[in-house]
């Protein structure tokens, strides 16, 4: 080994009060390998020492879909458009789980990583990004299961239309991930001050699902509540996602534009708050 050679015309970094020293885009890129390792870590660690291991990917949405099938389709008799109820619910559940896991895991960033954050510097935004990455990885096999179920219906002659609209799917998922990132970052920043906020978030996400067209199409929403669904970005995204899969619902342009606008605002504000929090949280948590 030789002595380290350095080009020291400029400082590698400057520590100053008030300066946003963390999570510059360039800095984030420099730590991309850490991002990949963290995604791998969380993906693998989730299923170590569990009985079913990765089978949870497949079991969980099935159980939830069956419960919804009984409650909302059989008992409450809610419409599921032209889709078989199982497909309708399952598609909704897996995408909602993706979104809500992203939000709640990102929200825990500071609380769970405080010991590491207090000892090692790296751009803190790497952590939320890696949580989103892990959830994307978790979502893919679930989507595959959905396709198998769809294939089963195709086979039994109750055709479901899969079309080139499918290309919109990654875009919709990207928007959902961005909304989840922004919201999660916002909550994470707030947990620095109020640690119990994550509990509230759990409840809110549960309630939120019922207003997000996961259990029924827009057409089944009572007229006096439709404004709520219009203003809910997730409702538009879920609708758009289903229409990209099946073409049975048609996403409306107005609500979709509102949803995109809200997403951009939430993401910008959320990341800004996160960056603010990462400057001071080691002194407070």
């Amino acid at each position: 080994m030789s002595a380290p050679e350095l080009n020291v015309a400029r400082p590698s970094y400057v520590v100053e009060p008030g300066k946003l020293l963390h999570s510059h885009p360039k800095d984030l890129w420099a730590y991309r390998e850490l991002f990949l390792l963290l995604v791998k870590r969380d993906f693998v660690a989730a299923y170590k020492q569990t009985a079913l291991g990765p089978f949870w990917f497949f079991v969980q949405p099935f159980i939830a879909s069956l419960a919804f099938l009984v409650v909302f389709s059989q008992i409450a008799r809610l419409s599921t458009t032209d889709l078989p109820p199982l497909v309708f619910y399952m598609s909704g559940i897996i995408v909602w789980n993706f979104f809500s896991n992203c939000v709640s895991q990102v929200a825990y960033t500071f609380l769970l990583n405080a010991p590491v954050f207090r000892k090692i510097y790296f751009p803190r935004l790497i952590m939320p990004f890696s949580q989103i990455g892990t959830n994307v990885l978790n979502f893919i096999p679930q989507l595959a299961v959905l396709f198998v179920v769809i294939g089963f219906y195709e086979f039994s002659g109750r055709g479901i239309d899969l079309s080139p609209r499918l290309l919109v799917l990654p875009l919709v998922l990207g928007l959902m991930a961005l909304l989840a990132l922004g919201l999660g970052c916002l909550i994470a920043a707030a947990t620095v001050k109020y640690r119990d906020l994550t509990i509230v978030v759990g409840y809110m996400l549960n309630l939120w699902m019922y207003g997000s067209l996961v259990i029924c199409p827009r057409s089944a929403v009572p007229a006096n509540l439709s404004w709520l669904v219009t203003l809910n970005p997730m409702a538009s995204f879920v609708e758009c996602y289903r229409s990209s899969l099946f073409g049975t619902e048609h996403a409306q342009a107005g609500p979709l534009l509102i949803a995109i606008a809200i997403t951009l605002v939430v993401a910008t504000v959320g990341i800004a708050c996160f960056k603010r929090a990462e400057r001071t949280f080691t002194d407070t948590i």
Partner: protein
């Protein structure tokens, strides 16, 4: 000679248990109260704000360290040594002042921070290494050295949760020590492991220093300070008491800590608590 670290008038204030200890409703109440006070008596409030119990962990600390030099931070507990290290390694921000760091800095403020218990030693070397800012390629090149140094070849594919604490510490130390960053910061972690490993750590530090790496160490044993570092920064109550070559600072420090009035008061107290 080229500068490695420049610290200009660094100060750091902590608020003792004043913020972030209240619930949301208490915060709303107290900010309403101060808001009303501000409306009624705008003059008095500035007094209230000034008197908020701030605690200055560091005050006006300046120093310069050139490449290849080794600096030891000395001073009693609570003198601000760890706070200074945290500021230099970007964990926390100074309240005022500024520091410039030239080169890649890896700090070992605690061994094994960022290790994941479920993962093998091998995976954790990569995880920890990338967290410290190294690329996978660099880690791969040094991988064998890291494993050799830690002496746990046989267990490298075992999850670290099954490691003994000694093995854990050895692996963590050797990750940071063998990846050879330009600037190393060590917060007393060298005092870990058994005698043999300790010796190995010291030797490793010696080679790093000989190779021209810059290092900042916190160490309480003046014998080690003398042996390893050319310069000393002596902190007392967050302020620089003395900064200069070890040969000048350490004798003064020893003199004062062995016979100082503060120390005389402190010793019986310590004897009771430990």
């Amino acid at each position: 000679m080229r500068v490695a670290i420049e610290a200009h008038h660094i100060s750091k204030r902590f608020f003792l248990g004043e913020r972030n200890q209240q619930t949301f409703f208490e915060d709303v109440w107290s900010s309403t109260v101060t808001g009303v006070q501000r409306l009624l008596q705008p003059r008095r409030l500035s007094l209230v704000e000034n008197s908020r119990r701030g605690f200055w962990a560091l005050r006006d600390v300046s120093f310069q360290l050139y490449q290849g030099q080794t600096l030891a931070l000395i001073g009693e507990n609570g003198a601000g040594k760890s706070t200074l290290l945290k500021i230099l390694s970007r964990i926390t921000q100074p309240t005022t002042g500024k520091a410039k760091v030239f080169g890649r800095l890896a700090s070992l403020l605690e061994v094994g921070a960022g290790f994941h218990p479920e993962f093998s030693g091998r995976d954790n070397i990569y995880l920890n290494g990338t967290m410290l800012g190294f690329s996978k390629k660099e880690i791969r090149q040094k991988f064998d050295e890291i494993v050799d140094f830690s002496g746990i070849e046989r267990f490298i594919d075992v999850p670290v949760k099954n490691y003994s604490s000694g093995m854990y510490i050895r692996l963590a130390f050797s990750v940071a020590a063998n990846l050879s960053p330009e600037i190393v910061i060590l917060d007393e972690v060298i005092a870990v492991g058994d005698a043999a490993f300790k010796k190995k750590c010291f030797e490793r530090m010696d080679t790093l220093i000989k190779q021209g790496h810059t290092a900042i160490l916190v160490n309480h044993e003046t014998a080690n300070v003398r042996r390893m570092s050319q310069f000393c920064l002596w902190l007392r109550h967050g302020q620089v008491k003395m900064f200069g070559p070890t040969s000048e600072v350490v004798p003064q420090y020893e003199q004062e800590t062995s016979a100082g009035p503060e120390d005389a008061q402190r010793t019986p107290e310590l004897a009771q608590t430990t």
